[in-house]
Amino acid sequence: MEPTNQPKLEQLPAEMFTIIKAASNGIGPRLGTLALPGRKAIQTPHYLGLTSRGVVPHITQDNFARATSISGVYVGLEDFIEKAPPHTPPLYQFKPPDGSSPLRRFIALPEQTLLVLGARRTPPLAAPSANSNTHETVAVCTAVGFRTLRAEYYAEVVEGLKADIVVGLGDIPFGRALGHKRVVKATDRTIQWMQDHVTRRRAVVERTAQARLFAPLLPVSCAKQQHYIDSLTQDLASAISGLAAYDLASLGDLPDSLGHLPRLGFTAPSTPHDILQHIAHGIDIITIPFVIAATDAGIALDFAFPPPARNATNERDLDNPLPLAIDMWAATHATGIYPLTTGCECYTCTSHHRAYLQHLLAAKELLGWVLLQIHNHHTLDLFFAGVRLSIAGGTFEQEVERFAQAYESRLPEKTGQGPRIRGYQYKSEGRGEAKKNKAPFTMLDDGREKLAESALPAANADASELEEQGFAEKDVQ
């Protein structure tokens, strides 16, 4: 791994984001390069890996470095601050000996991987109405429940963690629509918080190692948050290196003067079709919660962009769109000693086969989710590479249309059990709630009677006789 703060890298041009190709006017897909000192340059459109408590779920840091090509990750501060207040969270006390980023070292993220930090994880758990945002605070969900995060505190601590990109705090009311009055309030708050944050940053003498600040856009059109947009184009302009979009609505009327900024999407696409649509709206880097949900559901993504050639005049092809993914729980995979998806070159597909995946899921072995996570992220890597090529070649729009025809509109339904559900994955509905995780073992009430009734096979019984006795589920397939 390369050491940080290499003099050579410090001399890189301040230009962090270069647009290579974009629609001449209005919104449209665009090609770019996001280059930060010490990190591998990211060709856009691309995606960020999503983390939970600093780790892409199931992927230990050595597997991350060796078996994935995830070029950047998004980390939510709320995963680290359950002790605050009254205690200082451990992360803030961690001082790596070499002066590198405490957050990066703490979560053991490779040096070359882009590190983006925001207040809330993605997807965030919607705050209960009793814990809504205030003029000074936003509601965050920690390992010990909802807490309030002061805007001032956020601005202070994120700077010390030395991420590459920090998403400024916005008054984003996750899970709720914004009424007119609420938009006015959210606009005022976000202006205030961003201005305070920028003032704090400008007061710092040594600014070369500062994270780039991305400004959150409220999930409404720019016209509806005009004051904030004005602030971004005027007093905050020089301090902002990018935008974070929470809804496509805020990109439709984005002023040209903000067009040069990279756009980070927290727009929660639920299918690859959505991803393409969000790219078409000009999102440069997107976060994709459905990948992780698919992994936990035991689903292997299986889509490519551009879509494979199909015969447009062949009715069978038109009537039978391809599935976007494969449910690895299906017993039909039990003896399939071939890759999850044909020709896939990921670690999972080159080292293992469907039969093993199916076995691991059925046996609830943790490795199943590890291998699926690796495969699913690899599928995304190829998908985005294909998207960039088609934008460069000017065929993006046609290919999106072909993609829509070639593939089913939704991912397959979840059929199997995922890993244990954690507190940050669902909102408690209060008392009387059913258990989220099934007890792994239950007593067989009628066991003793059945044993008494059972006939004993002869001592020299062969396997097929035993099979009839029901040993070992020999009737698979």
Partner: protein, 419 residues
């Protein structure tokens, strides 16, 4: 063969040497203790003895990829026949071509017979002369596992070392007659296993010495089973809550009766102290789920003891899990490791699966490395001083804390821990 005249060995079995798929090369015998260093050539490559074998129950080591398991230096892991027999099942194993192919593990696999799980996991298991009767944990269907079927399953699994089906009784059982019956039945079942074993040239069948804590029964069992000339020998029925002193007596009694030229495997032993003492008593192979299971509870195994990193005191502890440890988790980035801190394990333990995976990597590496160091010291004829140094570090030099059983057992093989 006159010396065997009193044994119940069928004549055709003693006359011809058993086929074997291993080669045991004794490298060094400790000049003080009964410890040995050896190399065991197995169908999927050589392994060094003494050796700790982590347990990949259902064909995976609790979240680690085969690549990660390989990086802990493991070259032989366990699979459980009982679990693989239920899932994916024999038919699927046959279709896939065995457990190596199932889990893409290029190194060696050892499987147990499946009997132990039935007795330990299933309250309603009954042992009869035919086999173990039990109820399917899935749907309650009555089932029977015979020695023949256990071997057939293990033949389908294709493991490099397979175990006979034995009649496992808790050593703490007060029913002496039952223990004696179990020992004799285990011998009879060994004969059935040998007869049923279809792949003796690619899979090594190990017998399992039974007899509870009764040393005479153990001696008788050793004699009977050694005569049957299996490629390797296991000492079973231990590690079930018996007093450690009793355990040591059984291991030592058995190893004294076992031939020098065969590997000796003490089943289910996994605590570092137990392993090191057992090595001194002449045992070579050990297995236990403990390092991985305890990792899932946030416990780190180190040379100064076991620490629960979920404890609040570790939230701000930015040292590696164990200072100087060479595992992927602990090594600093400058040495190609991850530089994971105790605080980060605290942060993820029991909250993210990856937290358990990281700690499993460390714990398994720790045990493999401990036994590797033990072997090195045996080869260099300094095992007694290695043992003294190990206990000294573990108990921070406080000899009053040394477990009496370990002091006594090691004293019995010429190592005075208190010196």
């Amino acid at each position: 063969m006159s010396g065997l005249s009193g044994l119940s060995v069928p004549e055709d079995m003693v006359l011809r040497p058993r086929p074997s798929a291993l080669k045991f090369d004794l490298v060094t015998k400790c000049s003080t203790t009964k410890a040995r260093a050896a190399t065991l050539q197995l169908p999927h490559g050589p392994v060094s003895l003494p050796m700790f074998m982590p347990v990949a129950t259902q064909g995976s080591l609790k979240g680690l990829t085969p690549k990660q398991l390989e990086e802990t230096s493991c070259r032989l892991c366990l699979n459980n026949t009982y679990h693989l027999g239920l899932k994916p099942g024999q038919k699927t194993l046959d279709a896939i071509g065995g457990a190596h192919k199932l889990q893409s593990w290029p190194h060696n696999i050892l499987t147990d017979s499946g009997g132990f799980q039935m007795v330990s996991l299933l309250k309603l298991a009954q042992v009869t002369e035919d086999g173990v009767r039990f109820l399917s944990p899935h749907d309650g269907t009555p089932m029977l596992l015979t020695p023949e079927h256990s071997i057939s399953l293990q033949n389908s699994i294709g493991s490099d070392i397979i175990m006979q089906l034995d009649d496992v009784i808790a050593t703490t059982s007060p029913d002496h007659a039952r223990i004696e019956e179990a020992m004799h039945r285990s011998v009879r079942w060994l004969d059935r296993c040998i007869a049923a074993h279809e792949k003796p040239h690619s899979q090594n069948l190990f017998c399992i010495i039974q007899g509870g804590l009764d040393l005479d029964l153990r001696r008788e069992c050793c004699e009977e089973m050694v005569a049957r000339d299996t490629p390797g020998i296991a000492i079973g029925g231990l590690s079930g809550g018996e007093a450690k002193a009793e355990y040591c007596k059984v291991v030592s009694t058995c190893t004294s009766l076992l031939p020098d030229n065969k590997p000796r495997y003490v089943m289910g032993v996994g605590y570092p102290e137990d392993i090191l003492v057992s090595i001194a008593l002449g045992a070579d192979m050990f297995d236990c789920v403990w390092p991985t299971r305890t990792a899932r509870f946030g416990n780190a195994v180190t040379s100064t003891g076991v620490f629960n990193l979920r404890h609040a005191s570790y939230a701000y502890d930015f040292r590696p899990v164990e200072d100087g440890c060479k595992c992927t988790c602990c090594r600093p980035p400058s040495e190609g490791g991850l530089g994971i801190t105790r605080a980060y394990i605290h942060h993820t333990a029991a909250k993210e699966t990856a937290g358990a995976h990281l700690l499993s990597m460390h714990n398994v590496h720790h045990l493999l490395d401990l036994v590797r160091q033990a072997r090195e010291s045996i080869v260099e004829q300094r095992y007694p001083s290695f043992l003294r140094a190990y206990f000294g570090k573990l108990y921070a030099g406080d000899k009053n804390k040394y477990p009496q059983w370990a002091v006594d057992a090691l004293g019995g093989v010429g190592v005075d821990l208190m010196a």
